[in-house]
Amino acid sequence: MDFMLLIQLILAAVAGAVVYTLIGVAPGTDETAVLAPVTLAIVLAGVNPMVVLCFFMSAIVAKKLTDSIPVAVAGIPGGVMAAPMVEHAVQLKALGLADSSIRKMASGSVIGTLVAVPLSLLLARALIPLGPVISKHAGIIFFFGAIFLALMAKEKIISLISILPFGILIIALRHFYWGIGVVPRERTPFISFFLAITIGPMIYNLLEVAVSSKRREMERAEGKLIELAPDQPVTGRVPNPFKILNSQERVSSILGSILGTATFFMSPVGMTIFIGEIFSSRIKDTAKKAAVAISTMDAITNATYIAGVLIPLIALGVPLSPMALGPANPLFNAPPVLTLENNLHHILSFANISFATIVGALIALAITYPITIKYSRPICLFVFRRIPHESLLAMFFTLVMILAFMDAGLVGMIGVILLAMVAGMINRWGVNYGVQFMILYAAPWMINTFFAR
């Protein structure tokens, strides 16, 4: 192992952990919207693939640890994945158990990470023989993947209806860019399309401000009310994450993590709600039930996330899980640096991927876990009091515009807005990210097979 590389890995992991500890706390920060553009920028900036992976793993572990803080302290999810836990965490907060719920969620997170990393590596090794078969037929697999995810979604019919029109819009825009000569024929524009889907719901929401009838519905006389749990400072040493949970919570967290890892190809939010409710539904006592639910759910979100990145990355080389299609997408496809034929799967060996993952995950746990336990309230207050929502919105909007400009010039910036309008609208109707990203990948095959002459 090159010493300089090791230093870079450690620095990347520390940076990922620190930045995403703060972003994790900020309300409404969707994982795909905050992780994908940054990872994409880092890949395109030419950073070593192992360092990118290490940064990414550290970022998701840190973000998953801290996005439960605002849930416990203020009942506001720090991300989409924390949303299923709100109901249970609010019950614990009402009982004055906010700090205990932070510890239980953090502990669930640690267990989820520690179960999912080795288990995903094992499962991925077992699935390696499938890789060549799957990548050879990737087009048709993405197409059936889109149908499968549409059928698994809450809004099945509109998800199915969207597949062809949304696919056509993507291909039409691509041919338009080629046609007017802003993108050379030999390069397939991808980044701006991916970002448009990622940021679609946010852009759509921002554009609604320009619609007078919508704006009236969005107007507020006062700022968003944040109800904080009473201050209960943590004193003494940081507790051992394995001793915070009682045996029932520990067992259901471990089992939940195993199930979450095995179902890596399913929607993480869906599996979190489904498995979490199975484990907690039989318990009668409200506080006990809520504690099992939050610790187990936090373990499952970590496990589905980690498995959803590692298994497709190691075994398949194509993004065939909602996680790999969403936040981790730039590890699979970030042209011109990474493509479906030449990405982290092809560049890095199993040992390299394992090493970068383990360094990233362990450093994030070592930094973020004690901080979460000891300083959750001050961090939460700092983010709520010092970071205006305006600067977060402006930053992500700018990031997307810059990357769109790189992909297809000035017209690419308009193209992103066009695609984001449609993506945001169908997202609002219930066509989730998973379905939309599958369509993005399936579109060339679909159009060639069904319509091209």
Binding site: A41, G96, G223, K224, L225, P388, A394
Partner: protein, 74 residues
Amino acid sequence: MEKKFIEVWEDTVSLQDLLIAMFISLLLGLGGYLIAPARPPLPLIFSLIGTVIAFIVNSVLFKQKRKFQIQEME
């Protein structure tokens, strides 16, 4: 009562502040891209630095619009 805030993406903002913040961010972000030497990946790196500076400037310039209330113990 006058309604001076709007709720976007799960939080309240002032429309005027948001527009200024987006202007500053785009100016520094895209500005970084344009002034950088035309040798990839330098334009991207310059614009990322510009965006981060804009984030800090905006966070200092604008006040958050949240309202806090400490919950009573039940």
